[in-house]
Symmetry: C2
Subunit: 216 residues, 2 copies
């Protein structure tokens, strides 16, 4: 299975590409924005592809052709300018969803925000709510497709080393999770078809990632 | 017919409320953000209602109850911060669309941007493209409802006095249009049921607003 990792150069993305390359039968195509980011992924044996999420649908579709799954883990994040929130977190995500449809790729794993409900938009601090709204509409767009999607809602991301232990459910208590464990949960979702059509929150916990995802 | 004007305190909104109040059989409910904006609308005989578009769906639905049509002419505009582009031009618009549905109001007139296609997002200058994207997704949301909608795509807005003459068609040459004439085109759309389910661009032209809208 070949997996297009959108946002490969992000912190979750880098963990994910490495884990994919370390997994028998999986191969990563790393979508990156700049040529100079390519060598890191080549060294891992992954295939880099340089495409800007602000680029045209055609460019993004071309990068998507020939893969078996798309993982969207790009993110301007809440700390970039809100112009990028619109163009990357929402519009960029939508373009990759449409690219998956155009390229005939059924499997799509979206890394969302912890809570992207209407209530979460309303309740978020004003600096954060545009980001929540962007993720809300991107998730909504994906749900309305007939793609084999999974939407993962991670808690607060940390750079701690992964523990391999998480809690996963439709609703969990708000908490932290190392980016490396988010990458593991993505990998487990790609490997377990039972996650198709599901969405769930993840935080640090006490179950192995594999079991936590299996038990959803 | 009672018309909720969302963004009544904007420049198009002010013209529109006045024109509605000057029209036999029409009455405006002016949705405004601040109490101190109310007296202008009271003086026109319109009913002001103070609601923030960043407010809850319940607040917006409550303001929508009892009217016969909603006009969305709010707009952070391309010159406000992009955080407001997300929360007003997209999310605020969506909330008013959902409010119309909840309140059982079928008629909805959206004032969009001149070109909100995918191509327009891609081709816009980078400072403008978040705004185009916001309007793209708001228009898309509206099209997917079963509301009796009309989407008006005005050319470059000016503060010139209205001429009462416009050009209107699915596609017209890019050009300017006085805000007052946009308000007249909204009024004509509200009065002509033939505009339901249609969307069109408008610029300054040589037909009376009534005829231009009738001939769509």
């Amino acid at each position: 299975m070949k997996v297009l990792v959108v946002g490969a150069n992000g912190q979750v993305g880098k963990h994910l590409v490495k884990k994919i390359q370390d997994t028998e039968g999986l191969q990563a195509k790393a979508m990156i924005r700049k040529e100079e980011q390519a060598s890191y992924f080549k060294d891992l044996g992954a295939e880099p592809v340089v495409v800007d999420l602000e680029g045209t649908p055609d460019e993004i579709t071309k990068a998507t052709e020939g893969v078996d799954a798309v993982v969207f883990t790009a993110g301007s994040g809440p700390n970039t300018g809100p112009d990028k929130t619109m163009l990357i977190d929402l519009d960029g995500a939508v373009k990759t969803i449409e690219a998956a449809k155009s390229a005939g790729v059924k499997r799509y794993v979206m890394i969302s925000s912890f809570d992207t409900t209407r209530e979460a938009i309303q309740e978020a601090p004003s600096s954060f709510s545009p980001y929540v709204a962007a993720k809300h509409y991107a998730d909504d767009w994906l749900r309305r497709t007939d793609l084999d999607y999974t939407i993962i809602h991670p808690g607060m991301l940390t750079n701690d080393e992964g523990t391999g232990q998480i809690e996963a459910a439709e609703k969990v208590e708000r908490g932290e999770i190392p980016r490396e464990d988010v990458a593991s949960a993505i990998l487990a979702s790609l490997q377990q078809e039972s996650t198709i059509g599901k969405e769930f929150q993840i935080v640090g916990g006490s179950k192995s990632v594999h079991d936590a995802v299996k038990d959803l």
